[in-house]
Symmetry: C2
Subunit: 150 residues, 2 copies
Amino acid sequence: MVNQSEPLYLDDLQVGQRFTSGTYRMEEDRMREFAAEFDPQPFHMDRAAGEASIFNGLVASGWYTAAVAMRLLATGGLPIANGLIGYGGEIAWPKPTRPGDVVHMETEVVDIAPSRSKPQGVVTIRGKMMNQSGDVVYLLTAKLLVLRRA
Amino acid sequence: MVNQSEPLYLDDLQVGQRFTSGTYRMEEDRMREFAAEFDPQPFHMDRAAGEASIFNGLVASGWYTAAVAMRLLATGGLPIANGLIGYGGEIAWPKPTRPGDVVHMETEVVDIAPSRSKPQGVVTIRGKMMNQSGDVVYLLTAKLLVLRRA
């Protein structure tokens, strides 16, 4: 597991390369605020409603979890020199995140497709977010535009 | 295109059923704030940096776009009676969203898989977000847990 801080270009990447991010604490207030703005469902905003739901407690919006994952990748978790520019990908939430969870991202390069005509390529990364107990709470497979070194 | 307001159960859904959401205006200030918190990359936070980037202007974080899509679905765009509970799915950003864009979601039911043992099913929806010019700026295919009517 590399905790790489030097920004990387396409030339520096290889399949199997791994990265680990810092940590982020899911605060209940921020979870609720995010939900009120973007995902106003009772089980994301109200403890009693969470308790009464299939989640057995207040849980974060999956989109808050996804945004936190991006923050972890963009602040050192995946140091691509030209930034993290995604075409899209696949996401999953195997378990919910809950107030007080401390999460981090572990990411692996799974494919590198250099362009034949431009000094760039499409790099596929597979990331997982784990909480403080080691439970996987979020999975992300994403295709990124990565430039060659100038 | 149904603009359905009555909350729907599994019993009410059929493949091919369509929904359309209200609209949301992407405000530059909110785009920049979201980016500062979750996706602090220069082309999401600073006009000059956006102009100098491959985007030729300030663009929203794709995760802000994704969160806005959820808001549109959760506030009438996809009225599932037990709420919108997603297992995961696929996302793509064919074009960026920009300050002042007015977006909405159009969604279609593409698969319904009833459980054999429980009064519920997994419903696959395919949604697209369009801006005021009709450009598709976000695609979402998601698997949702939907309950049968009690």
